[in-house]
Amino acid sequence: MERIILQLARIFAAWGAVALACGVASAQANVGTNAGTKAPARESDFYRLISISTSQASTASRSKFWKPAPNELTLEISGMQMMPDGRLAVAIRKGEVWLLNHVDEDPPANVEYHQFASSLHEPLGLLWHNDSFYTVQRTELTRLIDDDGDDVCDQYLTVAKGWGVTGNYHEYAYGPKLDGRGNLWLTLNIGMGFKPEHRSRIITHPRLKLSQGRWRGWGMIVTPAGELKPMCAGMRSPSGLGANLAGDMFYTDQQGNWVGTNTLHHMRAGAFFHHPDALASAELPGSPLEKIESIPENVPFPRAVQQLEPLQPPAVWLPYKRVGQSATDIMVDRSQGKFGPFAGQLFIGEFTLSSINRVFLEKVNGQYQGACFPFHEGFASAVLRMEQGKDGSVYVGLSNRGWSSLGPASYGLQRLVWTGKTPFEIQEMRAKPDGFELRFTRPVDPATARRVSSYSLSSHTYVYQAKYGSDEILQRPLAIERAEVSKDRRTVRLFVDGLRPLFVHALAAEGVRSVDGDPLLHSEAFYTLNQIPGQPATY
């Protein structure tokens, strides 16, 4: 039965497409230009955005005396968890947890809101685990237990605390997320702009003289036995974390000092990512970090990796503006195809540009690396959290307070639903010893895909520096010698000379068409080539 409905839906979708094409063709005939070409596809042709609740605050997002819209739940979503019973639980920034019923209706006309918990200190994550909620507040990881089944929290139990909280506004704490081994992960921002009253809680590295609160700029775990353990360091503003299908844990970081552009990192014991301030805690008991005696500065990032042994490059660099300006949450697509052709890939929330980007990962020399792609834009406000429903659709939690974002709203909840139409996209981009392999979501037109002029490729990296952000440096165009199309027309091998390890390889496949003559919905892909297959490991 379901299958029949799905097929009907596809037929209707196809009719819609035909009607649309006709409409456009006649409009073009009126002006007598470009007759015969198709209107460019839009993201909204493939994914439908449903607004469940969006609101405009009474003040601008950076206002000193920020105020929400009057008389309503301030749905600044900072954590989201789909419940086993189909309700959506959300944490909001002012410190509450709400249970939302009927969010999956379309239109969402009957959504019910029920308050579960209150008085949390800026919770920035929400997880359903061991029949209770877990959330990271500014000062602790807390378990929320409802004793009597009335959907109101009765116990706010401290699972772990002990990281430094100086009172600095920028010391956000995020999580938890669960990895494949049962560990709960959390990440801790570094503080910025300390005031005198913050000093009593600041610690300093004995030799590097770097100062922060305890474990600030670190990723930590709480083991199944309940032990809080520091794992990896060097984070700046790690506002999103999430596991892939293999259960390995990743986090995103945001451009700033020491961080050339937004990044995605694989968190594992002993890794150092970039921001040196985190090293204030490097020699505390329990630190898994090797001794660091000096920090290279003002060098290209690949050279810094060579000079600083514990420095681990990001699995993926997200080039500034082209793939977001402020990366947030990480969500793996567990829908096995119900959310379109990207099953198993990671989706990365984007704050400033109110959008979502997409990441494909593979392992080369035992390390994660891969490519990022623009995916969908036009959300009503900053995308802070994402959570997938059972039907594969993705709930998107929004809030832009304190910073700025595109879109008319200040906060709210939207839902992105796959229409069943498959966009023409670069589905996967893999590194090869002599180039790249592109897998497309739909068969390509061999003529355009074989033509090397359909592609342009260049590589660049970033400066590792205390200065805010970085230009793309050491940029070099790369010649594509040959492009081979596979028999099933879904895969193209690009043969490239001059690959550079630890550099970002930026591809634009403007000229490639699908067999139906469609251009790519997003023609750009950015592969972080930390390791070249078949060559010795670079770090």
């Binding site: 950076r62 410190g95 008085s119 800026e122 507040q137 401290t158 402020s326």
Partner: protein, 796 residues
């Protein structure tokens, strides 16, 4: 089309010098030198900058436009300069001109996506026509350009005049008999077929800052965000524009030929050279063409009646498609006597500029202009609150030169003085005209300004004046106006805290005394009916002094808010426990970063420090303002709102049989103190009355602490009950510091120097902690268990 002429040429009171508008707007004086004393008055509008024009506009469109501007863009002020050429020659010249116009780069706004002003990559591709249609009809485009007949605002609005006429419920003939009629629709500035002319990119970039291309400011800068410009472009182009511009020829000979014709045809006089930011250098053309006065004296060229010119003469001239009426209107203003004898409503410099810039499309002044019928329905405020026309239509400009301070008026004209953020419509910016137009308004309204008496002298202490002003604002103004960003629920109006930056004091006084006299149809009521104050108890009821006190209060740095606003603000964010306790985890005054503040309906409250396992603060009265914790980006510590009872910053200061008599002698009791015993917080549990029990470990003991007002304490007693267990059925004693600076300690009761009494179920001692005297009490465990109760009693 010259929009001011089209709208007003039938206005009898305008006839004397409406022709002047044609002389400037058709840029006649680019080539025909005006009399020296009238050079400013008759300064030509000039044309768009043409650097790189063929790189941003479709050549096919340029070809058609150059061949016959009026045919492609009806109402264009560009004359046909090629009409006397043979078709093959014309084609050749056009190709050369287009090649020439394709060489330089065209001026573009610099758009950088920053963290505070984000812009999507390739935003011009991402316009949404439906949103663009909304913007087009809301932000002000339809003040000048035609609204879309298919577009209906959600709730079509009638003007107040229309409403009144409709209420009469008469048919048109009856209305006519009564001498009533609806205002007639006003003409629109036509748009060319934009999809043939532009790409989405070129039109979007143009809309982001039209002044880069059209420095004359007739198409003003509407301060559109890049994505709004993209939306409007998408709407105007309707998906019909090509994505790319077909680049013009780069043939060097052709370009040289184009340069020759550009010069020969006099293009430069209006358009300048084809370099970015060029301004026309007119001396060449002015010396070639006959002066304006000669034309007028001889009734030559455009000033001659149609068909009176010889065919050969006509051919030699640029062709403007002028009617006889227009010709004689222009001639009229050049015959000085005519103007002097019958000054028209548009004679003054500010009126002339308003005509040129089409300010009248939005603003009325001296009973002329204003948003036209069939257009005002699109003007709406963002929350659709009914504030009358005043709450949605651009304001009339009567007396504006007396009302606004000169600098502010300039700011407004530069588009930097938006005081009506609730409007969808935006005040565009006219940077080049801001200074002279503001000065012209000031000059024109000098007499009105002089008629307004200055503010009264107060000669009272500042504090008293401020209180008087604060009370007066409370009685009226804050009902409709926000003040320092604070507003009563539902209030939408002009912010008044910055009034002295904007408004002259004499106008402030005159307006407050009688709003309707200075602003026709305003909803602003008078608070001084018949010249009497409605608050006779303030400043002896003296109207002038009351107004002066309000002015003083509004212009002082932000002080105490008027009471109603203070209450409204508290209502939003002050937590008031009513039927059960409220909990807020927060940063708190006193450098407590792990505070758990708990407030009770009995108006007794405490803050527990879950880092130090201490109870440093009790207070009585109001609980907390949650705004700093909930919504302030910089998370300042929140403060107790009631009267504070300070307790030691550490509670657990020792273990074992004897009390620790002196601890941390070198530290200060006001600072952060290191705990002498290991501590671990475990959370809290809410009981059936939602009172939290705090759970924590001290050394090897598990503790549970419940703090709440005592049942029969009449709101003056806070009871602190601590239950402890220690593993192994052992004996253990913990020492608690429960009070500061006692006056007298006797048995289980201590009186404090600062007032208040502490009672304990165990004996009380005194000791020293970080230089302060503290009250100590033991929590003794026998066979692994113990309980302690400490009570805090307020004296009154």
């Amino acid at each position: 089309m010259v929009i001011g002429y089209a709208r007003f040429h039938d206005d009898a009171a305008a006839s004397a010098d409406i022709g002047r508008l044609l002389l400037t707007e058709l840029s006649c004086t680019s080539c025909h030198r005006p009399p020296a004393e009238r050079a400013t008055e008759l300064a030509p509008k000039g044309g768009p900058r043409l650097a790189g024009a063929a790189k941003r506009l479709q050549s096919a469109w340029l070809r058609k436009f150059l061949a016959n501007p009026q045919a492609v863009k009806p109402g264009a002020t560009m004359p046909n300069v090629l009409h006397d050429m043979s078709p093959p020659q014309r084609e050749k010249v056009i190709e050369a001109l287009i090649a020439y116009l394709g060489q330089a780069d065209y001026p573009q706004p610099k758009i950088v996506s920053t963290a505070s002003n984000p812009v999507a990559p390739e935003f011009w591709r991402k316009g949404d026509a439906a949103r663009g249609q909304q913007h087009y009809h809301q932000v002000g485009c339809v003040a000048c350009h035609a609204p879309d007949e298919k577009f209906q605002p959600e709730k079509p609005k009638l003007s107040e005049l229309e409403q009144k006429i409709q209420q009469l419920d008469l048919d048109p003939e009856e209305l006519k008999e009564l001498g009533l009629s609806l205002p007639q629709p006003i003409p629109s500035v036509p748009l060319p077929k934009l999809a043939e002319k532009h790409t989405a990119q070129s039109l979007t970039l143009f809309l982001v800052n039209p002044l880069l291309i059209r420095p004359a400011e007739r198409m003003p800068h509407l301060q559109l965000a890049p994505h709004e410009a993209a939306d409007i472009a998408a709407y105007l182009l309707q998906g019909a524009a090509s994505e790319t511009i077909a680049l013009p020829s780069t043939d060097a000979d052709l370009i040289r030929e184009g340069a020759k014709w550009y010069s020969q045809l006099g293009c430069q006089a209006c358009h300048g050279t084809v370099t970015q930011n060029s301004a026309p250098d007119r001396e060449g053309s002015l010396s070639q063409a006959p002066p304006l006065d000669d034309l007028a004296a001889n009734k030559a060229g455009c000033l001659a009646p149609l068909r009176s010119l010889s065919r050969a003469d006509a051919h030699a001239l640029p062709h403007y498609s002028l009617s006889n009426e227009q010709r004689s209107a222009m001639l009229g203003v050049l015959q000085d006597s005519n103007v002097a004898e019958q000054p028209s409503v548009f004679s003054s410099p500010e009126a002339q500029r308003m005509l040129q810039l089409n300010c009248y499309a939005c603003h009325a002044r001296d009973q002329r202009g204003g948003v036209g019928p069939k257009r005002w329905q699109f003007f709406e405020n963002k929350r659709e609150v009914d504030l009358g026309d005043e709450g949605r239509l651009p304001p009339p400009l009567d007396h504006v030169g007396a009302k606004l301070k000169l600098q502010w008026l300039e700011n407004v004209l530069r588009g930097k003085g938006a005081v009506r953020p609730h409007f969808h419509a935006r005040m565009p910016s006219f940077p080049q005209h801001a200074q002279p137009l503001a000065a012209a308004f000031r000059e024109a309204d000098k007499a009105a300004a002089l008629s307004m008496p200055p503010l009264a002298e107060l000669n009272r202490p500042q504090a008293e004046t401020m209180q008087a002003g604060r009370r007066l604002l409370n009685t009226g103004c804050v009902q409709c106006h926000p003040l320092w960003g604070e507003r009563l629920p539902g209030v939408m109006g002009v912010e008044i805290s910055d009034v002295d930056k904007r408004i002259t004091p004499h106008w402030f006084q005159a307006f407050l005394k009688n709003p309707a006299q200075w602003k026709h149809g305003t909803r602003m009521p008078t608070f001084f009916p018949n010249g009497k104050s409605t608050s006779p108890d303030i400043l002896d009821g003296d109207v002038e002094r009351q107004i002066a006190a309000m002015w003083t209060y509004l212009n002082a740095p932000q002080g105490e808010l008027p009471e109603k606003l203070e209450q409204g603000r508290a209502h939003n964010f002050v937590l008031t426990p009513t039927d059960k306790p409220l909990v807020l985890r927060t940063f708190m005054q006193g450098n407590i970063t792990h505070a758990i503040a708990v407030g009770f309906p009995e108006r007794l409250h405490y803050a527990f420090d879950s880092e130090a396992m201490a109870l440093p603060l009790l207070w009585r009265g109001d609980f907390l303002n949650a705004h700093p914790t909930w919504f302030d980006r910089f998370t300042p510590p929140t403060k107790p709102l009631g009267k504070i009872w300070r307790l030691p910053p550490l509670t657990y200061i020792g273990q074992g049989p004897s009390p620790p008599l002196e601890l941390l002698p070198d530290a200060k009791i006001t600072g952060r103190l290191p705990s002498p015993v290991p501590l671990q917080f475990s959370g809290y549990r809410l009981d059936s009355r939602r009172v939290p029990s705090l759970l924590y470990r001290v050394a090897d003991c598990e503790l549970k602490e419940r703090i709440a007002p005592a049942a029969k304490g009449k709101g003056r007693v806070l009871r602190r009950r601590i239950q402890a267990t220690v593993a192994g059925q052992r004996k253990q004693t913990l020492w608690l510091a429960v009070g500061l600076e006692p006056k007298r300690v006797q048995g289980r009761r201590a009186e404090l120097q600062a007032g208040g009494v502490i009672e304990s179920t165990a004996p009380l001692h005194t000791g020293k902690l970080a230089g302060a005297t503290v009250v100590l009490t033991p929590l003794k465990m026998e066979a692994g268990r113990g309980t302690l109760e400490v009570r805090y009693l307020w004296n009154e």
